[in-house]
Amino acid sequence: MAIGRGGATTAVLAALLLAACGREARDIGPSLGETPPRGGSDPRIPYYQDNVYQVAQGGRYFGWYGCVACHVEGAVGVRDLGDGRWQHGGGFDQVYAAIARRHGALNYAARIPAEPLWQLTAYVRDLPQHTPEKRRRLAIDQVGEPHGRSWSGPVR
């Protein structure tokens, strides 16, 4: 692409300014997360991590991409993502890398585009901030949503 560094920086800054308008702000412009994060202080991180909409979108993909199959409520050890202990580091770039590269044949780096990976990372890193009850409520809010290959409908 022929967009110069200046243009990209301006775009990032503008988006950051917009993100500051509110934690719920929804940005419908071109996506920022088209490449993986460059280190733990990539300027795009707050755009995803501090925005409730982006985090919730990650929660939605967490079901859609079938993550819930293994990282269920009550999972223990490394599969428990809500305990605040990160086996492979808790930095944004480290969690991103764990999702993308540590799932063997599931090969999320190739199968999930960058933007959903950003949102998934923001969601997963947001989980330890909440009490188990709150986490359960988040899950209950999404019972009607498809989980990977299964969807039984919103009313059982």
Partner: protein
Amino acid sequence: MPTAGLLLAGCAGPQSALDPGGDQAHALFSLFGLMLWVSGAIYAVVLAGLGWALWRAWRRRGTDARRDATLVGGVDARLDRTLPVVAGAIVLGLTVLITGSFFADRALFATRAAPALEVRVTGHQWWWRVQYRDRVSDGWIETANELHLPQGVTVRLVLNSADVIHSFWVPNVAGKLDMVPGRTNRLDVTARRPGWYRGQCAEFCGTQHAHMAFAVKVEPPAAFRAWLAAQAAPAAPAEGRGAAAFQATCAACHAIRGAGAAGRAGPDLTHVAARRTLAAGALTMTRGNLQGWIAQPKAIKPGTSMPAIPLTPADADAVATYLATLR
């Protein structure tokens, strides 16, 4: 005359409650007609009364009320007699309206005991999952963003939502009914006039609410059965570059029955190219629009949860070509 013609031109069409093509829409249209005439008559009576009062006051300007022969003890006897009659007529008109609306409501929502066909429609941000009950297997035949109805048959629509409140509305066929998460609403519809209609989400549900539409086709029962049989059939086993690329990146969210893709998050694509529109009415179904949608879904429906998948140009082309064969 030309003005009236222009005004009425807006009444017909594929998305109009004033052009009923089914029993329920007809009941609503009749109710609307009753409301229009009764309210119109009341409006005329009230305005006539106002006009008369103005005229009377104007005629009497300057005269002394104490000498006025039509007033007995300061009271107008004629007015005293007519006013209760007019008020009674207005109350009667309103009673007719309430009674009409009561009976129309009961007729509309009287779901029949055994529907000939059950169709489950689920609202998602921002598309429609449509499932037909399969009499043989007792399972569901799934498609999306397009509803086919057999002409003259009463169909039971079972309405749900997977995320937020949506509302199901095909004005030519029936009135709107909300789709509420965690709740099941039922609507019986009997379509009569064959043709294509347009349905639209009628409850604001997010940024792409306006692009949450669907196509509705009412067709003779034989044609409907043929269509449903085609929808139930699986796609041919997938081979080639497009199918492989689809399997790698799209199958997480989309199903193509028979070709090994089983994702449930997005619309079923087994017969996507047989649909009339793409992405819930946002585009017409063409090979070019398919490729455009895959390349930049967020440029067409900003905020949609389908991500842009970075495919090489050759892969994008192959995937679109593959999808266009899914008829």
